[in-house]
């Protein structure tokens, strides 16, 4: 499954507003892409690690599972975790006019829909 996710991630096309994104696997390996110089791959992968740490705490608090949106002054960081523990994170600008939300939704939908039978 890990190879399939990586393959999908490598081939995925960016949408308007995406600054950086990454995938972190349950074995703690990660891959990432950035479209802005200030977002380093190491930084994105570190952020994904932080986001993943949050899920068990949310679960312990019995908060309903869903997409996380970390709202910072300049940036939003969106995260989703699949049932198998793989996590996708996407950085976008805070200004909604600069973001293609349909593209963002499509990106997460494809990520969640990936299965062994998916052909890429």
């Amino acid at each position: 499954m890990k190879e399939l996710v990586n393959q999908w991630f490598e081939q995925s096309t960016p949408f308007l507003g995406i600054l950086a994104c990454g995938v972190r696997h349950p074995d703690r390996t990660a891959i990432s892409k950035t479209w802005a110089d200030v977002y380093t791959e190491a930084g994105v992968e570190h952020a994904l690690g932080c986001a993943l740490d949050t899920y068990p705490v949310l679960q312990a608090n019995r908060f309903p599972p869903g997409r996380l949106r970390w709202v910072y002054h300049d940036t939003h960081f969106h995260c989703e975790r699949r049932a198998d523990g793989t996590c996708l994170g996407v950085f976008t600008p805070k200004d909604p006019a600069q973001v293609d939300f349909e593209g963002l939704e499509r990106f997460f939908s494809e990520f969640q829909a990936l299965s062994e039978t998916t052909s890429i």
């Binding site: 930084g43 952020a47 932080c50 608090n61 908060f63 997409r67 709202v71 002054h73 960081f77 349909e102």
Partner: protein, 382 residues
């Protein structure tokens, strides 16, 4: 109109001195002061919870928790209450520590009735210039959200009059609850969100009067969070002028920095709207979010308000964890200051916000429209 009696609380570990003070101050004030006394900090805190105290006069030397420690606690918990330190052992180091700790005055305990009369006159002057209602002091770089939050936390009753170009709006706060908003044809939450979304203008906090109707019943925390979220999603509303901040006649007040691209949203105007997030961010059809719980705590972990939290300490721990994780997440990246985490799912939504002085958690769940419309309990009633 009769003046409200001032409530002055004296804290000293000498019971006989407190008796003397009560008699003298009541006499000097001609009954205009309600003199409260406490022999220790715990009694003083209890009285502060029961009464809206105008002025606290604290002895420095007390057993267990001394006056300076108490002053520090008061600054965190009751920053707006006037505080005066009174001591029989006045020295420069105490004076400096007390004034730095937030005391308005540092006075020496008098030895005769004439001295007490002088103390009374000084305290009277201090209280005389404080407005009985509304704000005191000068606020800088404060947003409408901040003002509303302060009004609600203080359980004040007031009307916020908001003006921006040709837009005029009113937000009614009654005993710390936002009960009504109107702006032109808009009323209720629609008007509230619209006003909170304005990019700039002026506002005044004025004396409360009953609104024509009550159009808002939700908790103020949730309203402010939702307004902030909507503003983030749609961008601020620019009412056709270049002002980039709210102003009062006395002070320039700045709103949050305006994003570089500002969608203009005016009634009847066709403007390109940003695409709203869909799917997981949307609630199921035929439902409306209903507050399931909320909690406000200080950054020291003290629960300030909570409603329907089955485990407040657990929520505080979660907010502490979040504050730490949000800091770690930014390492090496230009994300800006952390504002909040949103967890959006079909089964509900959680918003956890970390502010400079407090943290807030609101959990909502989708409820059928008819259930959501039914009047619920007042979440912040004692």
């Amino acid at each position: 109109m009769p003046h409200k009696r001032k409530k002055i609380l004296f804290v000293d570990d000498e019971a006989s001195l407190l008796d003397l003070i009560r008699q003298l101050m009541t006499h000097f004030s001609g009954g205009a002061w309600e003199v409260l006394t406490a022999l220790d900090v715990s009694k003083a805190l209890s009285l502060l919870q029961e009464h809206r105290v105008d002025l606290l006069v604290i002895d420095i030397h007390m057993p267990l928790v001394d006056g300076l420690q108490f002053l520090s606690l008061l600054q965190r918990k009751y920053p707006n209450v006037l505080k005066v330190m009174l001591t029989g052992d006045a020295n420069d180091s105490h004076r400096a520590a007390c004034l730095a700790g937030g005391a308005e005055l540092f006075l020496e305990k008098p030895r005769d009735e004439g001295g007490w009369r002088t103390v009374y006159a000084t305290l009277h002057e201090l209280t005389r210039f404080q407005p009985e209602e509304g704000f005191r002091g000068v606020l800088r770089r404060v947003s409408l959200q901040d003002v509303l939050q302060m009004e609600c936390l203080a359980r004040n009753s007031s009307i916020l009059k908001i003006h921006a170009a040709n837009i005029h709006g009113l937000v009614y706060v009654k005993e710390g609850q936002i009960i009504h908003a109107q702006c032109g044809e808009r009323t209720g939450e629609e008007a509230f969100n619209y006003l909170l979304g304005l990019a700039g203008g002026e506002f005044d906090v004025t004396t409360f009067a009953d609104p024509p109707s009550r159009s808002i019943t939700g908790s103020w925390e949730f309203l402010l969070m939702e307004a902030a979220r909507k503003r983030d999603e749609t961008g601020p509303v620019t009412p056709g002028q270049s002002d980039s901040g709210f102003q009062t006649p006395a002070t320039t007040l700045s709103e949050r920095p305006t994003p570089s691209v500002v969608p203009v949203i005016e009634a009847g105007q066709t403007t390109a709207q940003p695409v709203r997030p869909q799917s997981q961010l949307s609630l199921p059809t035929g439902t409306k979010p209903q507050v399931a719980e909320f909690l406000v705590c200080s950054l020291q972990g003290e629960v300030l308000h909570e409603w329907q939290c089955s485990n407040p300490n657990g929520r505080v721990s979660f907010l502490e964890f979040l504050a730490q994780k949000a800091r770690q997440l930014t390492q090496g990246m230009p994300l800006g200051d952390f504002d909040r985490l949103e967890v959006n799912g079909p089964d509900g939504r959680v918003v956890a916000q970390i502010q400079s002085d407090r943290a807030l958690l609101v959990r909502t769940r989708p409820a059928p429209l008819e259930e959501a419309a039914a009047p619920g309990p007042n979440p912040v009633s004692p």
